[in-house]
Every structure is written in C-alpha cells, then in structure tokens.
C-alpha cells in the first residue's frame, strides 16, 4: 500500500460520484418525461455502489482497503405520479397522466451530497499530495 494506491482509491471515489451526478442529471432532465422506449413514464434511476477489494492478494492491510465501483443502475419501482390532465396526449381513459416517480427536491439533496462527497474525495487527494511532499522533504 503506497501513496499511489491511495490515489487510485480516491480516483474510484471521484468516478463513482461523477456517475452519481449523471444519474441525478438524468432524473432531473426527465422529471416530467411521460414517454420512454419501454413505454410508460420515465423511472427514477439510482446507482448501485459496491466496495471492491483493492488488492485481494496483498498483505492483510492491503486486503482491508476497498475501492468503490458502480455495479449498475437500478430503476425505482415506486408508482408513477398520476395527475389529472385530460388535454395531455398521454392521458389515459380517465384523463390521468402518469408522470415519473422523480421527486425534484430529493434529487436536489442527492445533488448536494454528491458534490460534497466529490469535494471530500478531492481533499483526500490534496492531503495525499501534501504527505508525499512532506515525505520527500525528510532529511533536507
């Protein structure tokens, strides 16, 4: 386990948060989308993060460290939001339109936690750099 491995772990964290940001962007953009290729309204997407052993064959200490990986994106099974709007082209027989099960407020909160987590990972990167600099100044 050296400083460069730390950089790789941090990189995986940054990548995971960027993919999370993409799902938030997708959910936000499609918050009012009533049509999809599969039919029906858009469904809220949530990324599935998994801890992956950084070095499964290393020392005990190496095996204890994990990177994070996005294993997939799952669709929410929550029911769509039904809104009475008989004039809408996608309205059903009773005049109800199925809107996505995306809650824009929840997405905003997700957006904020994503940004903060990304920042936190970037700070780890800065500290790694500072530690490397300190180590290189030993004995100067």
């Amino acid at each position: 386990m050296n400083l460069l491995d730390t950089l790789q772990i941090t990189a995986s964290g940054l990548t995971a948060q960027r993919l999370r940001l993409q799902t938030v962007a997708s959910n936000m953009a499609n918050a009012r989308t009533t049509r999809t290729e599969e039919g029906g309204p858009y469904k809220k997407q949530t990324p599935l993060l998994e801890a992956v052993r950084d070095d499964p064959f290393g020392t005990d200490l190496d095996r204890a460290m994990s990177r994070v990986e996005v294993m997939g994106v799952v669709e929410s099974d929550d029911p769509p939001v039904m809104v009475h709007d008989p004039g809408h082209p996608d309205a059903d027989a009773d005049g109800y339109v199925a809107y996505p099960n995306v809650n824009v407020l929840e997405e905003m909160v997700d957006l904020m936690t994503t940004a903060r987590t990304y920042e936190a990972n970037a700070n780890v990167l800065d500290v790694t750099d500072t530690m490397a600099t300190t180590a290189l100044e030993i004995g100067r």
Binding site: L4, Q8, A11, L125
Partner: protein, 106 residues
C-alpha cells in the same frame, strides 16, 4: 508529458538515456550481479518515464475529446508529478553523496 521550462527546447523524458558504468560494465565488473544500484535506478527512471507517458496519453485523449475523464487525467498527472519529484529527490541524494566523496581530502 514533456517537462519543459518556459521557452526551453523540450526533451521528452523517454529520450534520456540510462547511464552506464556506475558499477555496470566497467573493467573488473564483468559479472555484475543483477540488482545493482544502477539497475535499480534504471528501473525507477523507467517507472517515472512510464508515469509521464501515461499522463501524456490521458492529456492527449482529453484534448482530442476521446475521453473526458477530468479527474482521471488530473490523477495521472499527479502520479507523474509525485514519481518525478521522488526521482529528483533520489538524484539530489546521489549527487550529494558523489560531491561528498569528491571533496574528501586525502
């Protein structure tokens, strides 16, 4: 990545040739055991060079729009910088030791 001072002609770090003779191929040293200091140094310099090349590739991909992995590129640059600084620190120590010996009064 090409290391260059402003205005100075840039020399890709891959073109730096490894030095010979620091315990390598000199007389009386024919059967030099593997893992001499010179070999280790050469391996380390190769490692630094590879990091620079990896960072260079990432930068080229980013510039050409093939890959827009911003933090991946920055991390590759960071790795290249840390390894280069480590190499510089080792160089300073080696030069220091050499000068120490050269200045020794006999």
């Amino acid at each position: 990545m090409i290391v260059t001072a402003a205005g100075a002609p840039s020399i890709p770090i891959t073109e730096l040739k490894r030095t010979e003779g620091v315990g390598g191929t000199g007389p009386g040293n024919g059967a030099a055991p593997t893992g001499t200091f010179a070999d280790k140094l050469a391996t380390a310099v190769d490692g630094v060079s590879n990091q620079q090349l990896a960072a260079d590739d990432k930068l080229a991909e980013l510039a050409s729009g093939e890959n827009v992995d911003l933090h991946g590129t920055m991390i590759a640059l960071e790795e290249a910088e840390i390894t280069l600084r480590t190499m510089t620190a080792v160089r300073d120590k080696v030069v220091g030791a050499y000068q120490e010996i050269m200045n020794m009064s006999i």
